[in-house]
Symmetry: C2
């Protein structure tokens, strides 16, 4: 499968790239607005995987070309770049492709982080509204601490929550998630489940900041 | 310490009563609007603890008397009874007492459960507004599956999140929580952190319903 990581030069993009690069044979397309930066990141990720004994198929492109070539595109961009990124790549998304949103909307004050969704109710709803109808949107990969994901020396042992209105797309992303060693994918419902999942992101940051010895936190349901 | 479980004939009250009853020497006051039901529940909980080799100090009262005698009162009532319960017991809460809210507001449709907080933003904020200013409000014990809590044969191995604006009160409830075997208490901030914590409750229910082999779910941050 060909997986595009749009905004893949950022930390969550790096984490997913090196994990899939080490643990699977998928072709990984790092996207950026600046294709030169994407190529540099792809080289670095390939080297990281090689340092851990893997041989990853990773290359860099501009976001539009990465999305055009991919079967699955992950929106690994900050929430305030979600809409412009989707608009930039929409023409390259074909029927049958799947768009994945891992972002949460947050605000911060002296008490810590809070969930601060866009007016449509969630980042996932924002993505859904901006995406062509024929392309299913799936939420996944929230709540993975990027630093831990990118450190291939760390075992994960955590869960990711997958949601969406298209069952086939949800199953396909669930499978991709579980191909990452130590990551368990759990279903949580349709796109209407987005606010509760996206709310976990600020919660994890607050818990990590307020309790000694906890950092790069993930979550396990049991 | 004397701990009142207001609405303690319900499932979360039962779980906390038998756990504290087995694992600590605290005096437990089961509250109900009907003191006869409270006494019956107290007898049953005492018997459960005895079946597991413990000797618990548990008695039944009406909610008002339970709160009046207690140092800590847990609002183990459904969210739509939070305000009337607080109003019924307010006169019995003294300065230095702590009121604990474990409830979440939820709605349900064909897609599952969603977080549906009251207009003031969270159940905890609703409790804060209804409670005398001198009595600190602490959120805790959300996200403990009641059935698992009440089953003393089950090891917990899960976390509870504690939040509130009064540091001493938060510390006191943190300590009470950690006296339950297998329960770890983590800080998450002030009362402003309530929505993200209360949101976990519907999320856990949805995850349990949609994934085979998962039920009575708790959560572990790591």
């Amino acid at each position: 499968m060909r997986i595009a990581l749009l905004g893949g030069t950022g930390d969550i993009g790096e984490g997913l790239a090196v994990r899939w690069g080490r643990d699977t044979a998928h072709e990984l397309l790092i996207g950026s607005r600046d294709p030169e930066r994407a190529r540099e990141a792809a080289d670095a990720y390939r080297e990281t995987v090689a340092d851990h004994g893997g041989d990853a198929d990773i290359a860099g492109y501009d976001n539009t070309m990465a999305a055009d070539r991919a079967d699955v595109a992950v929106l690994a961009v900050p929430p305030y770049h979600v809409v412009d990124t989707v608009e930039a790549v929409a023409d390259g998304l074909d029927e049958g492709d799947v768009l994945v949103t891992p972002a949460s909307g947050m605000s911060r004050d002296e008490d810590g982080f809070s969930y601060n969704p866009p007016g449509v109710g969630s980042v996932a709803a924002l993505v859904r509204d901006a995406t062509p109808d024929a392309v299913p949107v799936v939420g996944a990969f929230h709540n993975l601490a990027a630093g831990r994901l990118a450190d291939l020396g760390t075992e994960l042992g955590i869960d990711t929550l997958v949601f969406g209105d298209d069952d086939d797309a949800v199953d396909s992303i669930t499978q991709l998630a579980e191909e990452i060693e130590g990551l368990r994918a759990l279903h949580v419902g349709g796109l209407g489940a987005a606010p509760e999942v996206e709310s976990l992101t600020p919660l994890l940051i607050n818990v990590a900041q307020q309790n000694e010895g906890l950092h790069d936190l993930g979550v396990r349901f049991h």
